[in-house]
C-alpha cells in the first residue's frame, strides 16, 4: 500500500472511537434545528457551511428565541475561537503543503479531527523538513473526512427523525460529555484549571443574561484568570 493511502486509512480508523459521541450529537442538532423553526435545507446546509457542532447548537438555540443575527454571529465566533489554538498548534506541521491542502485541512479542523491529527503528528517522527516530504497530512485528511461524512449523515438522520427522538433519551447530554472528555485531561496545570472553574462558575451565575451573553462573559473572565494565574506563578 502506498504511504498516502496507508495514512488516509489509519486516520480514518483513529477517528472512529470519537464518532460515538458525534453521531448522537449530529442527530440532536438536526432535531433541535427543526424544533427551533429552521427549514430542513438550512439546517443541513449549516452542517456543511459552518461544520462546527457546538456553535451550530448554540446558533440554533438563539435562532429559536429570535435573537438578532449579529448576536448569533458573535456568539458562534466566540465559541469557535478555540479553533485558532488548534490552527496555531498544527501550523508547523502543515507549513510545507500547498495552499489547496492548507485550505482543505483548515476546513476540516474540528475538535475531534484535531485531537487525533495532533496526536499522530506528535507520536511520529518529528519531521518538519520540507526537503523530506511525508504523508502525514493524509492521516489528517482521513480523520477529517470520517468526521465530516459522519456529521453530514447524522444531521440528515436527525432532520429526518425530526420530533421522533424522545426527549426522555436525554441524548443532548452527550454534548456536555464530549466536552468533558476533551477538556478534563488537559486540566493538569493551575492556570488551565482556574480558567475552567472560573469560566464555569461565571457561566452559571450569569446564565440568565439574554442571548447567551453569559457564555461570552464567562469565556473572557476565564481566559483572563488563566493569564493572571500564569503571570503570578
Amino acid at each position: 500500500m502506498s504511504a498516502p493511502r496507508r495514512e488516509l486509512i489509519s486516520g480514518f480508523k483513529a477517528e472512529l472511537p470519537l464518532l460515538i459521541g458525534v453521531i448522537p450529537f449530529g442527530m440532536i442538532y438536526g432535531v433541535l434545528a427543526l424544533a427551533a423553526g429552521m427549514p430542513a435545507g438550512a439546517a443541513q446546509a449549516m452542517s456543511t457551511i459552518v461544520f462546527a457542532g457546538s456553535s451550530q447548537f448554540i446558533s440554533t438555540q438563539l435562532y429559536g428565541i429570535a435573537a438578532p443575527g449579529l448576536v448569533i454571529f458573535i456568539t458562534a465566533v466566540v465559541v469557535n475561537l478555540r479553533h485558532a489554538l488548534y490552527s496555531a498548534s498544527v501550523a508547523p506541521y502543515l507549513k510545507c503543503l500547498n495552499s489547496r491542502w492548507k485550505w482543505l485541512l483548515a476546513y476540516l479542523l474540528t475538535d475531534e479531527a484535531y485531537a487525533v491529527a495532533i496526536t499522530h503528528y506528535q507520536q511520529t517522527e518529528d519531521n518538519l523538513d520540507c526537503d523530506r516530504p511525508d504523508a502525514r497530512h493524509w492521516f489528517f485528511l482521513g480523520a477529517g473526512l470520517a468526521l465530516w461524512a459522519t456529521w453530514q449523515l447524522s444531521t440528515a438522520v436527525g432532520i429526518f427523525l425530526g420530533a421522533q427522538v424522545p426527549a426522555s433519551w436525554s441524548l443532548d447530554f452527550t454534548l456536555a460529555l464530549t466536552f468533558i472528555a476533551i477538556i478534563v485531561p488537559g486540566l493538569r496545570d493551575r492556570p488551565s484549571l482556574a480558567a475552567a472553574l472560573v469560566a464555569g462558575v461565571t457561566a452559571v451565575l450569569f446564565f440568565a443574561l439574554p442571548y447567551k451573553l453569559g457564555l461570552i462573559l464567562a469565556s473572557l473572565v476565564g481566559v483572563s484568570v488563566g493569564l493572571w494565574i500564569e503571570a503570578k506563578a
Binding site: L18, I20, A42, A45, I49, V50, S54, S55, I58, S59, G69, I72, F73, A76, V77, V79, N80, R82, H83, A84, L85, Y86, S87, L94, K95, K102, W103, A106, L109, A115, S170, F173, A176, L177, T178, F179, I180, A181, I182, I183, V184, P185, G186, S192, L193, A196, L197, A199, G200, V201, T202, A203, V204, F207, G214, L215, S219, G222, G226, L227
Partner: protein, 105 residues
C-alpha cells in the same frame, strides 16, 4: 434570508479562524499575549458550556444528589481524567444518567 446570511457569515468566520495560523505560519509572528491567551480558550469556553448543563438542568440551579446530570457529569469527568478516553467518558456518563433516571432521580 437573514438566516442564510448569518449562517454564511459564521461559516466564513469559522473557516478564517481555522485557517488563520496555518496560513500565517512563517509570515507573521503571533503576539505572545495572544499565544498565551489562546491556551485558555478551550477550557474556558467549553466549561462555560458544560457547567450550566450540569448545574442548571431545565434552567434551574440544582446542587443536590437529586441532580442526575451533575452526578453523571462528575463521574464522567473522573473517568476522563483517569483514562483520557472519549468513548469511556460518554459511555460512563450516559450509563450513570440512565441508571439514576431508572431509580427515579
Amino acid at each position: 434570508m437573514n438566516l442564510w446570511l448569518t449562517m454564511i457569515a459564521i461559516g466564513l468566520a469559522t473557516f478564517a479562524i481555522r485557517l488563520s495560523f496555518i496560513y500565517l505560519f512563517g509570515k507573521v509572528e503571533m503576539p505572545d499575549l495572544v499565544k498565551k491567551a489562546l491556551r485558555y480558550v478551550p477550557p474556558a469556553v467549553l466549561s462555560a458550556i458544560v457547567f450550566p448543563e450540569l448545574l442548571l438542568p431545565g434552567g434551574h440551579f440544582d446542587l443536590s444528589f437529586g441532580n442526575g446530570r451533575l452526578i453523571a457529569g462528575v463521574l464522567a469527568a473522573a473517568v476522563a481524567w483517569r483514562t483520557k478516553s472519549v468513548v469511556l467518558t460518554i459511555v460512563t456518563g450516559m450509563a450513570v444518567l440512565y441508571i439514576l433516571m431508572a431509580l427515579g432521580l
